[in-house]
Symmetry: C2
Subunit: 598 residues, 2 copies
Amino acid sequence: MAMYKAPLRDMQFVLNEVFEADKLWASMEATQEIDASLAESILEEGAKLTENELFPLNLSGDAEGCRFEGGQVFTPKGFKEAYQTLSDGGWMGLGGNPEYGGQGMPKMLTVLFEEMLYSSNAAFTLYPALNNGATLLLDSHATEAVKTQYLPPMYEGRWIGTMCLTETQAGTDLGLISTKAEPKGDGVYDLTGSKLWITGGEHDLAENIIHLVLARLPDAPAGTRGISLFLVPKFKVNADNSLGEFNKVNCGSIEHKMGIKGSATCVINFDGSEGIMIGEPNRGLNAMFTMMNYERLSIGIQGLGLGEVAYQSAMDFSKERIQSRAPGGAKQPTKAADPILVHPDVRRMALNVRAFNEASRAFASYVGMQLDIGKYHADEAIRKHGDDMMALMTPIAKAFITDRGFDATVTAQQIYGGSGYCTEWGGEQYVRDARIAQIYEGTNGIQALDLMGRKVFSNRGEYVKSFTQEVRDFLATCADLPNMQVWTTTLETELQRLESLTLKVIAATEQNPAEIGAASVDYLDLFGLVAYGYMWARMVSVAQRKVGSETSGFYASKIKVGNHFLKRILPRTLALEQQVLAGAEVLMAMEEDDFYVN
Amino acid sequence: MAMYKAPLRDMQFVLNEVFEADKLWASMEATQEIDASLAESILEEGAKLTENELFPLNLSGDAEGCRFEGGQVFTPKGFKEAYQTLSDGGWMGLGGNPEYGGQGMPKMLTVLFEEMLYSSNAAFTLYPALNNGATLLLDSHATEAVKTQYLPPMYEGRWIGTMCLTETQAGTDLGLISTKAEPKGDGVYDLTGSKLWITGGEHDLAENIIHLVLARLPDAPAGTRGISLFLVPKFKVNADNSLGEFNKVNCGSIEHKMGIKGSATCVINFDGSEGIMIGEPNRGLNAMFTMMNYERLSIGIQGLGLGEVAYQSAMDFSKERIQSRAPGGAKQPTKAADPILVHPDVRRMALNVRAFNEASRAFASYVGMQLDIGKYHADEAIRKHGDDMMALMTPIAKAFITDRGFDATVTAQQIYGGSGYCTEWGGEQYVRDARIAQIYEGTNGIQALDLMGRKVFSNRGEYVKSFTQEVRDFLATCADLPNMQVWTTTLETELQRLESLTLKVIAATEQNPAEIGAASVDYLDLFGLVAYGYMWARMVSVAQRKVGSETSGFYASKIKVGNHFLKRILPRTLALEQQVLAGAEVLMAMEEDDFYVN
C-alpha cells in the first residue's frame, strides 16, 4: 500500500556528511546558532508531523477534492485541522525572518522539510509553499510598516499568501496582463481584473488571504516594463491589525484538474479591491521574481517528494508481491514464487527511481546552500559564487527535478503492475500530482529558456565555467580514493562535453536567435545529468571513505546506486548532445500551417 | 478543445503508397477481392462512425465512468447506443472469418480502423477489442460446432467476448492460477474461481458475454503446463442458440482506476459455472496466446490512437493560443503576440509527437501486413518471413508504441501549458487513458523479456538477421535517390549497432541468465528506434519521389518530420547501447533488503 517514512538517514547524510552543514553554519553570522543537533531535531519533528498528520489525508484528500459552493471553497476533510497543527507548531515560519517572528532556519535545511511535506501530501503543501514565497517577497521588497503588519500573522499561519500572475490571455507571456490598479491616494489602489489558476486563491484554512497581484497602473507602458506589484488582502486590515471589511476579492470558480485535487485552483476576481503597492511602480515583475525563484525550487522539491513517496510505496508493494522465479533459479523455493525484486528489470526500475531521488535530494540541498551562501556569507567572492550557482541552478532545479520526479512516479507505478493503475494503491495519484509540477510555476520549457538564454547565453557561459571549475576542484580532492578514478575520468569527459556544447550553442545563437529555444530543453537535461553526476560523485566519495568492509547497508548501497547512475543513466548525455547539435533548422523547416489538422 | 479527425490521408499513404497494399492483396487468394477503393470506403465510413458517434462520448464517459449496482455494471450514457450502431454497421466482424459471418478484411487495413476507434474513445474501444481477440481465438482453436454456434453472434456484436487470465496471486506469473475446472461429463466442466481485472467482464452492452477462461483440471500438473482453456458464457446457450439460464458468472466489483473509466474492469467470480474446453487439455495457455498476440498489437494501437488525438487536440489549441514573440521578431505584429508554434521548443514537442505517431501508424500496418502474409501468402518462404517478423515485432508493437504513445500524450499535454492539466480541455484524459496500455496485456517489461528471451536469444538472433536483411534490401532500392543517402548511411550504422549489441547480449546471456532481463527494456527501445527508422526511410523515400518542387503540404512535411526523427530522435540509440552494455552486474549488486524502506 501507499507508505511514507521521512528518509531521515539520507537527509542527515546529505546535510552533515556530504555538505558538512555544521561547518558552513558556524562560519556565517546569521546561522551561527544552528548546529547539527538542532537540525536533526527539526527534521525528526518534521517527520512525525508529515507522517502522522498529513500523509493520512493524502488519498482521502484526492478522492474528496475541494468543493466550491456559494463563492466559498471548502478543502477536504482534515485539511483545516492539519493546517492548524502546522501553524501551531511554528512550521509556517520555519525559514522566516526572525525579526518578524520567523524561525530563521537556513534554506539547505528547510528544503528537506519541504520534501517531507510534498511527499506526505502534495496538494496540502501548496498552501504553505505559497505562503513561504509570499513572506520572502514581502521581507525582500516591502516597507518596514508592511513587514511589521503582515509578516507576523503570515509566519503564524493565521494569514496566508498567494501569487496572482496568470490571466486568461497571459500565462507564459506576463507582458499581456490587463488587471488595472487605479490610485486612490494615500498609497492605496483599487484593483480590477480577473486572475486565473490561483493556487489557494480561496479556501477555509486561514482567517485572511494575502494576495500578491501583478497589475498595471493607468499610465503604465505596455509589456513587462509596465507591471507593478500589489498586496491585496481578502479582508482589509485595520491599523490595529484586526480584520476589517471584505475587500471584494471574489472566487469565481475552481478548476477540475488531473491531480492535486485538494489544492484549490481558483479564478480570483478583484472587483475594485483595495491594495497597496510593493516595491517600485512598473518594477513589479522584478519583485515578483523573488517569489517565483523561491517557488521554482519549491516546485522542484514537489517532484522529488512525490518521487520519494512513490518509491517507498512501490517497494512496500514489492516486498509482499511474489511472482515468477529469479533468472538463475528459485530464491525462495518454499514459496510459490520469488519476490519481484529478484528480476533484473524490476531492479532497473527501482534503481532508476532511487538514483534520481537521492541525487535530487542532494541537489535541492545544494541549491539551498548556494542561496544561504549568497545571502549570508561574509566573503564577497564566495557570496558571488553562491549567487551565480543559485541563478544557474534554479531553472535546472525546477525543471530537471520535476521531469525526473514525474518519471519516478511513472516508473514506480509500473513496478506495481496492474495495481499501480488502481486508485486504492496510491501509486496513480502520485503520477497525477507530479504532472503539474512540470507545467506550473513557468513550464519546464520556460525554465530551459531561462537557463539557455539568461543564465548561459547572456553571460557567454561565465556561470558554466564557475560550475565546471567547482566540480574539478572537488574531483581533485578525491585523488586519494582509488575507486573514485572512474568517477573522475567519466565526469571530466562530461564536463568537457558540457563546455564544448555550451560554446557551440552560444556561437550558433549569435547567428540565429532561434538556436536558444532549439537547444534549451535538451541542453537543460544534459546539464541536469552532469549536475547529478557531480552530486553522486560527492555522495559516493563520502560513502567510500566510510563504508569499510561492509557489503550491504547505507554506505554500500549508496555506492551501488551511484554506480547505477554512472553506468546506466549518465550515458543519456550522448543522445542529448546530438539532439542539441541538430540545431534550429530541423525544427523551423515546417510551415506553421502544416502542423495543424484541417 | 479536444478534437478528432481520422487521419485518412496519412492512412491512405501508408496503405497504398508505402506498402502498396493493392498489389499484396491481389497476390493472395484470401484477399483478392479487396482493393484500394474498397479499403478507402471502409476507412471513410470508419472515420464518420468514430468522429460522430464515439468521440462525442469520450469526455463524458470519463467523467461519468462505469457504475456497479446490485451486481450489475452500467456503462456511461450513450455507450449502449454507440455499441448498437457499431454492431449494426457490421464493424464487430470487420476482420472476422467470412465462413461464419465475418467481413474478412486483412489485418493491415483493420489496424487503421482500430486506431480510429482508440483515438475517438479508448475506454469504449476495449469492449470490441476484446471481442475481436476472442473470436480470433475461437476461429483458430475451437471445434466446428463451437465456431458455428458462437462466432456469428459474436461477429454481430450480440454476444461479446472477454479474456479471463489474471487472479489475485497470478498476474505476470500465470503458472500460479488456481481456478478449477471439474469435468461433469459430455465435455462440460464446472468452473470455480475468481478472476481479477477482467476488462468488460460485466456490462450492459450485449445480450451475452462469452468468457474465455484459464483454469486447471483436477489432475493438472503445476505451473503453466497444467492450464486449460474454457469457454464460459454468462448465460448458457441452448442447442437452438437461444439464451438459457444464468450461468452463475458473478461480477464481484469494479475497479476505481486512473483512466479508461468507461471500461468496466471487473472481478469475475465463477461459482460452478458451466464451460466447455477449447483446444487440448493443459495446452490452454498456448491457445490463449492467439488472443494475447492479437490484443498486444491492439493495445499498441491504443497508444498510437491516443497519441494521435492528443496531437490533434494540442494543435487545435496551439492554433488559437498566442503568447510571446517569435525569436527573430514578431510574426503577427498586428496581434498582441504570436501563435505559440513560432517557438522552437513548442515545435520540438509537436514534431516529437508527430514523428512517433506517423511511424507508429506505419509500423502497426507493417506488423498487420506480416500477419496477413504469414496467414495467406502462397509462397512458403515469404510466409515464413511474415511469421518471423510478426513474432519478432509483436512485443515491440505492444511496448514501444504504447511507451511512445504515452510520451506523446504527456508531450501534447505540455503544449497546452496549464490548460493541459484541466479536465475540460481533454488533454489530461489522454495521459490517463494511455498509461494503462503500458501495463496491461503483459507489462512492457514482460514484452521486452519476450523479445530478448524468446524472439532473440532462443534463436540466437535469427529473426534479427532476417529483419536487418529486409532493411538493407529496401535501402538498396533507394540508390537512385540522392537525398536518401543520409538515411542509408545512418540506418546502416544503426543496423550494425543492433546486430553487434544482439551478439553481445546473446554471448553474455550464455554466461549469466540475468543478462536477458538486464538488457531487455533498453534493447527493445533501441530496436524500436531502428524499426521506426526503417518505417521513416520507407515513408520518406516515397515522399521524395512524389514531392516535386513543393515546399509545403503532405509530402514536404513528411520529409521534414522524417528529418526530425533522423536528427533529433534516432540518436537516442547512442545512450541505449551503453545502458545495455552496462549489463546485469550493476543491477544485481544491491542486496534485496537494501531496496526496502524499513
